[in-house]
């Protein structure tokens, strides 16, 4: 804890601790219909949710691993050795004092309550499967904003959430969205009423504490007409000996004229498989913006997308990925244009260090008879060592005459002259390298909320340590 700002701390060393497990609820290892029924029973799911889960399981078992295009490393996930549900056995707490002592200590170290006290509008922390602490500032609550866990959301507000749940990302979207549909627990359900502009960001924190555990949070954010909301999530896990799985589904719905900004800073330890499906649905004049920072994990596969359904809607993905030794950051973006005058923008910057591999995979789709749709895609990759690797695999489909699309990518090295210049002025090579890398991502980082950009810069410095010389 060397920082003054107790923002959600994404320093890997701080995240690398684990408390003994005291889980009352444990679905055991492996996945079968029994697991699903166990989860549904414990969570007292309504029948339709139970059915939804069972359909998810069926689809998951039917679908093959997407290794015809994705990394073969996926085969290293042993689905039968994973524990799919762990919980302390009590629901989310409303006040910090009610939270059990050891869990509290975990989050104290992660800096959550300070955060909230300072300025965050509400905070939800997820420890293994369930939200352990959630609160939403009074003022925000009075505006009618609902900020609850997925279980509570589906149980207490079905009239709001059921309509969109599983609609942006259907069960069968991919193997891992199906898995999440089967065993999801935790995550945030947010509803922002028409015209409400939530001034401060809402925040969630996800942490994997148990070995061989899979975390499957499910998040659904609905911004009603003309409303605005910013949501931030951070993720960590301690270092375990065996691989751990994180497979979330995040659905965003921006109704007419609404704005959603979704910020992720993940700092998974190097044995986490992070396979996340994120998609937003933008109605007329709405705007959805994903800001995504991927650091750590063994393999991350994450392609935040926006379906631009309404006229003049806008979608944006800003992404930073840092792949260190042995890591593969397979990230990108999807923009599906489905109405006239929709615009999308993708900016991706990746850094590969040591034997790290950063991959950009993108999809831009502009179907027939649309007018004045625009997409801009820029991917820049920076390679630090001779063993570093980077790939770019975009797929762009355009039909018709009214649209314009441009894609650009470049790959480069840190310029030797820059390093030389800085060394001339007394910086060590490592310092110079770190500064140069921070400069590379600076124009993106500047768009982040203040404390995130500070943390991210520090985190990049940390990752760059020992990468030269």
């Amino acid at each position: 804890m060397k920082t003054e700002t107790k923002a959600v701390d994404i320093n890997r060393n701080i995240g690398d601790f684990a408390y003994p497990e005291v889980h009352v609820r444990d679905a055991g290892t492996g996945l079968s219909e029994k697991t699903i029924h166990y989860i549904s029973d414990v969570k007292e799911d309504p029948d339709w949710v139970r059915e939804f889960r069972l359909r998810g399981l069926k689809t998951f078992l039917e679908k093959p691993l997407p290794t015809h295009w994705a990394s073969k490393d996926l085969e290293a996930i042993h689905f039968d050795k994973i524990r799919y549900y762990l919980a302390p056995g009590t629901g989310a707490k409303r006040s910090w004092d009610e939270v059990p002592e050891d869990i509290k200590r975990t989050f104290e170290r992660l800096g959550i309550p300070e955060q909230e006290r300072k300025f965050l509008a509400g905070v939800e922390a997820q420890f293994d499967s369930e939200a352990v602490y959630s609160n939403i500032k009074k003022a925000v609550g009075e505006q009618g904003v609902i900020f609850v866990g997925s279980t509570e959301g589906l149980k207490n507000h079905p009239e709001i959430f059921r309509k969109w749940f599983g609609k942006v990302i259907p069960i069968g979207d991919n193997k891992f969205s199906a898995l999440n549909s089967a065993v999801f627990s935790g995550g945030s359900f947010i509803y922002v009423p028409p015209g409400v502009k939530v001034k401060h960001p809402l925040q969630a924190y996800f942490r994997i504490n148990a070995e061989n555990f899979g975390q499957f949070e499910r998040t659904l954010i609905i911004a009603d007409e003309g409303s605005e909301v910013t949501y931030m999530e951070g993720c960590t896990a301690p270092k375990f000996n065996t691989a751990t799985l994180h497979s979330a589904v995040v659905e965003l719905v921006a109704l007419k004229g609404a704005k959603i900004q979704y910020i992720t800073v993940q700092n998974w330890s190097a044995n986490v498989f992070n396979l996340v499906t994120k998609r937003g649905l933008a109605h007329e004049n709405a705007e959805i913006k994903w800001i995504d920072c991927n650091i750590g994990s063994r393999l991350t596969m994450k392609y935040p997308g926006v379906v631009l359904k309404g006229r003049k809607s806008r979608g944006e993905v800003l992404s930073i990925a840092l792949a260190n030794n042995g890591q593969h950051q397979d990230t990108g973006a999807k923009m599906v244009h489905a109405a006239d005058e929709t615009t999308s923008n993708i900016i991706s910057k990746s850094i590969s260090v040591g034997t790290g591999r950063a991959t950009y995979r993108g999809l831009v789709h502009i179907p027939k008879h649309l007018k004045n749709c625009k997409n801009n895609t820029e991917c820049d990759a920076l390679l630090i060592n001779a063993t570093s690797r980077t790939d770019t695999y975009p797929a762009i489909t355009v039909r018709g005459t009214g649209n314009s699309v441009q894609h650009e990518a470049s790959v480069s090295q840190v310029s030797a002259e820059q390093i030389f210049y800085m060394q001339q002025r007394g910086l060590s090579e490592a310092q110079a390298m770190s500064l140069s890398v921070n400069g590379f991502v600076n124009d993106l980082v500047r768009q982040f909320p203040m404390e995130y950009s500070v943390e991210l810069k520090r985190l990049i410095e940390l990752e760059m340590e020992g990468s030269v010389g």
């Binding site: 790939d391 489909t397 990518a409």
Partner: protein, 440 residues
């Protein structure tokens, strides 16, 4: 599998799917290779759209059942083909193939022959220059998706061109080759094996044409282009197959140290035309330029897959593909720059630009990078757009009809690629072919 071929021989006689013909004058070792290739063709799975290398491609069009191999060429057709085999005004040599039969041959000058240039049909080279042939003939595996069709080509190839340019020999005028699809359901398996030795220089222009522009046909060609140290190889393809032809072309260019290779592929014809181009840079100082122009309309589908494979450090490659799409045409570009480990100081570019002229045209672009070395400079770009309204307005306000203005702007758009060839006579011929397509 070969026994099943024998059983089916009666029902599939003359079909592409009945296996290698036994009647060729090929040496036994090559006939064996053909049998091997046939087994490979039969055992490899057919491509599906789920294969990353066939994504967006209309694989259903690759049903080969109805296509025939061999067949006699009537005197009337032969005369018609010879009459229409006009391309460049002055060439160093010329071959005309119709249905894979060599029907005319203008040999190279005595002077070039004396300096060691070899220009002969493939089947003779197999016998007379066995070592060179065996070393280079299809020596690179087809890695861009069509391994099955490369095997089919090898099994069924019955003739082709062998060109060897020895050390230091520069052939100023281009060498011209015609490949004709002669009739209904015909198939051809064109092959060009071009080997240049140190500091040699040569330009080859290939024309792909159909005698009857309406009938169905199938073409499955492979080219091996080898640029020796310091050599300069220019390859131009002018593809104007008839409108019901399905065509596959797999080209491999190998660029040795300080050599440069430039290929320009013009695609105007065929219902479905897939073009795979692998450029391997194996020696320091090598450079490869990959250029292509397509004009697609109606229901045409063009599918281009490329790989710029930087094996050696200090190499450069530059790809520029431009497509103009009208009607319900579809174009797919899947390209990859691959920088192998240790191939430092690579300079690689890749750019694909689509000009959409109608509301039903579709352009798919997949420009890719795989970089495994750090000291490199690589960029790629893909754009899709339409004709600039201001440019159109400028031309219209000067009294030029819309149709003509559009044609002018498209020609200008494509000309940037053709100019890169820096050979005015060939460029003029390519422009003429584009004009003819617009005129229809």
């Amino acid at each position: 599998m070969s026994s099943s071929v024998a059983l089916d021989e009666v029902s599939k006689a003359g079909s592409v799917l009945s296996g290698p013909l036994q009647s060729h004058d090929f040496p036994a070792w090559f006939r064996e290779q053909q049998q091997e290739a046939w087994k490979q063709f039969e055992s490899l799975p057919s491509p599906t759209r789920k294969d990353q290398l066939w994504r967006f491609s209309n694989v259903d069009l690759l049903d080969l059942k109805s296509f025939k191999v061999g067949g006699e060429l009537s005197d009337k057709d032969r005369d018609a083909i010879l009459e229409q085999s006009s391309g460049l005004d002055s060439v160093a040599a010329r071959l005309v193939f119709a249905g894979d039969q060599l029907i005319e041959r203008d040999v190279i000058s005595e002077q070039l022959k004396k300096r060691g240039v070899i220009f002969q049909p493939l089947e003779r080279a197999m016998v007379e220059h066995t070592d060179l042939f065996q070393k280079h003939f299809m020596s690179q595996p087809a890695v861009l998706g069509s391994a099955k069709f490369a095997a089919l080509h090898k099994a069924l190839v019955s003739s082709g061109t062998f060109l060897y340019v020895p050390r230091g020999v520069e052939i100023e005028l281009p060498i011209e080759i015609f490949h004709w699809l002669p009739g209904e359901s015909a198939s051809v398996f064109p092959h060009l094996l071009l080997i240049t030795d140190e500091l040699a220089k040569v330009t080859v222009v290939e024309h792909f044409r159909s005698l009857d522009r309406q009938v169905a046909g199938f073409a499955c060609g492979v080219n091996d282009l080898i640029a020796g140290p310091g050599a300069k190889v220019t390859y131009v393809c002018a593809q104007t197959w008839g409108e019901n032809v399905r065509a596959l072309q797999m080209n491999t260019t190998t660029v040795d140290h300080d050599a440069s290779a430039l290929s320009l592929n013009l695609h105007l014809g065929a219902k479905y035309s897939r073009f795979e181009s692998l450029s391997r840079l194996t020696g320091e100082g090598g450079r490869s330029d990959l250029l292509a122009v397509s004009v697609a309309d109606g229901e045409q589908e063009f599918d281009a897959r490329t790989l710029q494979d930087h094996v050696s450090p200090h190499t450069a490659s530059d790809l520029l593909y431009k497509n103009a799409l009208d009607g319900r045409a579809r174009c797919t570009f899947g390209g990859l720059i691959r920088v192998e480990p240790h191939a430092h100081f690579t300079d690689a570019y890749q750019k694909v630009r689509n000009l959409l002229l109608s509301d039903d045209a579709e352009a798919n672009s997949m420009p890719g990078l795989e970089i495994l070395a750090d000291n490199v400079r690589c960029t790629h770009g893909a754009t899709s757009g339409q004709i600039d309204e201001d440019e159109m307005f400028y031309l219209r306000s000067r009294g030029i009809p819309t149709k003509v203005a559009q044609r002018l702007l498209v020609t200008g758009f494509l000309n940037e690629v053709i100019q890169r060839l820096d050979q005015p006579a060939i460029a003029a011929h390519l422009h003429q072919l584009i004009e003819e397509k617009f005129a229809v």
